[in-house]
Amino acid sequence: MSARATGPARGRKLVTGVIGADTHIVGNRILSMALEEAGFEVVSLGAITPAGDFVKAAIETAADAIMVSSLYGQGELDCPGFRDLCIEAGLENILIYVGGNLVVGKQDWRDVERRFLAMGFDRAFPPNTRTDEVIETLNADFAARSEGRRIAE
């Protein structure tokens, strides 16, 4: 856990939590700890968080990104419509990541990723994603955004 927030990413505010009825807090907590250590400001909602609560927290704290964890397999039921909730709340452009064991069973990742990007997530992360990789990606995406692009290539 050595990666740091750099450039435009420094001090950005991130909302983290585990969506739906999902109790898997370990990875989400370690991620939140790592993001904080890296220099982000983290609003951690913890486990079992309804989609609406993410959006509410994002508005209240004027967050720059939402980090949705879904481990228990029902992400495909909990996550559709998440982007719409953000839009309705006026967060058209907020950066949204989703990660964990997003679907039920061992499925081809490229296929799963396609489904979640189609739901409006800016990025989806497979199992076995480490926190450094997440931080690097946040750095790249916030840099891209400061140049007007939605996310980095």
Binding site: A21, L77, G105
Partner: protein, 495 residues
């Protein structure tokens, strides 16, 4: 979502006392009225059905027999979102996996009593032609339909429903013919919920335990189980066993006489054998002290409950070793996983393969025991020195009532759970692995472990920090969470 269902008319003062018959009768009426399929539950009819089952389909009997014969039974987990998929799954686990105990894992909406969402999940699953739920929506289908699952197999079946709200899944499951139910108020509420009150969790399981006793009064023995694996994340044996003692006392108080104890494996041959031995002895010690002389408490050993490697070949070693550890440790049953563990819920094939790999490992363990190994004796004694001070303190805090003591102990951090999602738990206690692969306590939080015990743990963990050339501190705990999921290039690099 709170468990204190206001619908519940008879909210008695919180205690470990046995729920009295009339109160329980009206609690049951209120409970069964919460969802249409509740009306299908008829105790007399259910009792008659259970009595019509052959003994080998009753889990309580199967566990007692395995214990007497020194066998280690196998049981996987498994649940899918539709009846058709669940039937296929349970048949495959029974026939192709040779499972000795067949599971029915409920989905996470059902666990949290979000039955409408579970209904939607069934529809979605049928539309998609694959399971969109992570388990079987038992309550939506109801006991009559669920009985098809029992008829489809020739083994005892158990309900796996990680939840603090077992009252309706319990009623439906038992009425359907399931003879086992895994779960407890303290362990599950602290490990599977965020805002749910521990008191309500205990109340809900007192209901389930009282229901189990009710069946027993009618001549039907049912097997209850305590999920001592907790958050599955590097739980040291002593913490698991503390919760096992407390939940066992609560269950016995409601009249339960078949109470299994589940321990997640530490993956250390000696520590797991010591944990299995110590768990059974310590729980019995406190049950007997409390006047419960006749509670059967077999130990079930669980395949590694923490993060798995992302390589099927590597994972196969954990599956096989899981059988070895359970058998050599003298567990009465083992709960198995598969090579898919790190990725997702296994297919019926992968799940059955995990059962067969474990079963072969159990066979290969022959009759080996470590009783005469000094290291085993040292570890077993150490666990006793860790558990007794905590449990005694908690019983003290309750002024004689274990339920009250448990709540107060959680509030005071005297009872703490590593990596807990529950806000009433401090989760300041932090485990890590020492240089020899034993799980030790890095930070005790506010748990009153004896000083000399903590010195043992610290010394061993400092050895590891030195070996790895890392600072002694929290990073050891985080590294220990990842450890078993690391690739072999990291764990055992070729030179």
């Amino acid at each position: 979502m709170s468990g204190a269902t206001p619908a519940d008319p008879t909210r008695s003062p919180f205690s470990a006392a046995r729920i009295d018959d009339d109160a329980f009768a009206s609690m049951r009426r209120a409970n069964l009225a919460r969802w249409p399929t509740g009306a299908e539950v008829e105790l007399d009819e259910a009792v008659a059905f259970h009595k019509s089952l052959p003994a080998h389909k009753n889990l309580s009997a199967a566990m007692r027999r395995a214990d007497a014969e020194g066998r280690c039974l196998t049981q996987p987990r498994g649940g899918f979102g539709t009846l058709a998929l669940q039937l296929e799954l349970m048949r495959a686990l029974d026939r192709d996996g040779l499972a000795d105990i067949v599971p029915m894992t409920t989905d996470s909406y059902t666990r949290n009593e979000q039955w409408q969402r579970a209904e939607a999940g069934i529809a979605e699953s049928e539309r998609a032609g694959r399971s969109m739920l992570n388990g079987f929506p038992l309550v939506c289908y109801g006991p009559r339909t669920a009985r098809q699952l029992i008829d489809a197999i020739d083994k005892p079946a158990i309900v796996l429903s990680g939840t603090s709200m077992p009252r309706l899944t319990g009623e439906v499951g038992f009425a359907a013919g399931f003879t086992g139910y895994l779960g407890s108020g303290l362990a599950y509420t602290t490990s599977y919920t965020k805002d749910f009150s521990i008191e309500d969790g205990i109340r809900n399981y007192q209901y389930l335990d009282r229901l189990t006793a009710l069946y027993r009064e009618r001549g039907v023995d049912l097997h209850r189980r305590q999920p001592g694996f907790l958050t599955g994340t590097n739980i040291p044996p002593c913490i698991a066993i503390v919760t096992a003692v407390l939940d066992a006392l609560l269950a016995a108080g409601q009249g339960v006489r078949d109470y299994g104890l589940e321990l997640g494996q530490t993956l250390h041959l000696v520590q797991d054998a010591a944990a299995i031995r110590a768990c059974r002895e310590l729980v019995q010690e406190y049950l007997v002290k409390a006047g419960h002389e006749d509670v059967f408490t077999p130990v079930t050993s669980l395949h590694w409950m923490g993060a798995w490697p992302y390589d099927d070949a590597q994972a196969a070693a954990l599956v096989a070793y899981g059988g070895t550890l359970a058998a050599i440790g003298g567990a009465v049953s083992v709960t198995t996983k598969s090579t898919h563990e790190a990725f997702g819920i296994p297919t019926p094939e992968a799940n059955a393969a995990g059962l067969r790999t474990s079963r072969m490992a159990i066979y290969l363990a022959r009759r080996i025991r470590l009783d005469d190994l000094p290291e085993f004796q040292r570890e077993t004694a150490l666990i006793g020195r860790e558990v007794r001070p905590i449990v005694d303190r908690i019983l003290e805090m309750g002024d004689g009532d274990v339920a009250v003591g448990t709540i107060r102990a959680c509030e005071a951090g005297v009872l703490d759970i590593p990596w807990s999602p529950n806000r009433q738990i401090r989760s300041r206690v932090l485990p890590a692995r020492d240089a020899d692969g034993y799980l030790r306590i890095l930070e005790p939080g506010d748990m009153p472990f004896p000083k000399d015990v903590l010195e043992v743990h610290e010394a061993l963990l400092r050895k590891r920090a030195e070996r790895d050339g890392v600072p002694y501190g929290r990073d050891l705990a985080v590294a220990s969470v990842y450890e078993l999921s690391e690739g072999l290039e990291t764990l055992l690099p070729p030179r």
